[in-house]
């Protein structure tokens, strides 16, 4: 491929005589190191900087392990963890699209599908197919595991915003109603977690950390 993107591994290629299948897998493992440099909007609780996608994915995986009991339908924890591990991988090429970025949201799926094509094709075919399946499952949310994974993806930044006393809730033009609407998907997986999440948003609104409806700036 004449116009192949430069891969991280190109800087220090792996030995030519490694087993070819393993060599492709390690190339992928090295390439996804990029996820550690893709910044999200959410502020960390523990330091004065924004969170990156790798940290976010780890945090979601831990939340699946700890909060699975709140799923309204039984879920397979190991499978759900794999969904959250994989769900943001495509952002190594597509970048993060902030939740409240309406313009960026328009072509997000198209950009991410192109990125998935490019990234997953680094792997042996059987594994590329498997990552596509995990990513599609997360996006389509037709399984209880995917719904729960999505709920974690919405609940985690909600907790970070609570700790930041606003965080991205303070995005210009965004009201507490917008936040509730974007987060309501938590309720598709867990009645109790959405109840708690909504309580944090309501309380944040009452404390002035999110704008009341009708007061959009």
């Amino acid at each position: 491929m004449a116009d192949r993107r430069e891969l991280l591994v190109d800087a220090t290629p792996l030995p030519e005589d490694l087993d070819p299948r393993l060599r492709r897998q390690l190339t992928f493992v090295i390439e996804i190191d990029r996820l550690k440099t893709v910044l999200r909007q959410s502020p960390l609780v523990s330091a004065e900087r924004r969170e990156n996608d790798a940290e976010h994915s780890w945090h979601l995986a831990m939340m699946v392990v700890l909060l699975a009991e709140y799923a309204d339908e039984p879920i397979d924890v190991g499978h759900t963890v794999q969904l959250v591990l994989v769900h943001d991988l495509v952002e190594v090429y597509a970048g993060d699209t902030p939740l409240y970025d309406v313009a960026g949201g328009q072509d997000q799926l198209e950009r991410e599908r192109l990125a998935a094509d490019e990234l997953f094709s680094l792997l042996p075919d059987d594994q590329a197919v498997r990552l596509w399946a995990l990513w599609d499952e997360f996006e389509e949310r037709t399984t209880p595991e995917a719904r729960f994974a999505k709920a974690m993806d919405r609940l985690q930044p909600l907790l970070l915003n609570w700790m930041a006393r606003g965080g991205t809730w303070r995005t210009p033009g965004v009201t507490a109603d917008d936040v509730r609407q974007r987060k309501a998907v938590i309720g598709d997986a867990s009645t109790q977690l959405w109840e708690a999440g909504r309580q944090l948003i309501d309380e944040g609104e009452a404390r002035g950390w999110a704008r009341p409806a009708g007061e959009s700036r």
Copy 2:
């Protein structure tokens, strides 16, 4: 407790009327945000900085998903992922102990057990017991899953060091033989991955990225 450590959540306490069990779990979820600030020695491939524990744990989890086929004994992928997710949690209080830090390694287990006691006790008892069990399993390496998790923990920085053309292999006093000795545990889980790992170390030594034996500085 009069001398309780200040928790991250203390800065912005969660509402008092949240369900008490969920409140403890969310307190823990917020507290482990600290893992994103615990720096390891390994340099990232994708940026000019060191890796943190949360990024490292995510990377290991991805490697389990992608490389499980190389385990000499069959492993449960979902369980192995949970082992790597949990294995470094205690470092939120105990800090990272570099692999080639012999002095720090002496009391490492004791420091980490105290940290586990403090951290895991934030959770409801049943979950504290569960995290202790996962952490002990990882440390004891008596299951195929724990051996594979440990292998990932040794292979991942090996890849980062390869990409850095030395990285922590250049630690003063460390030779290529020391590196091979510390990494040989990969072979307890996977003959093929240890073969590949050793090949990278041998090649690194040949290229002058690690010191030959007998030439310790």
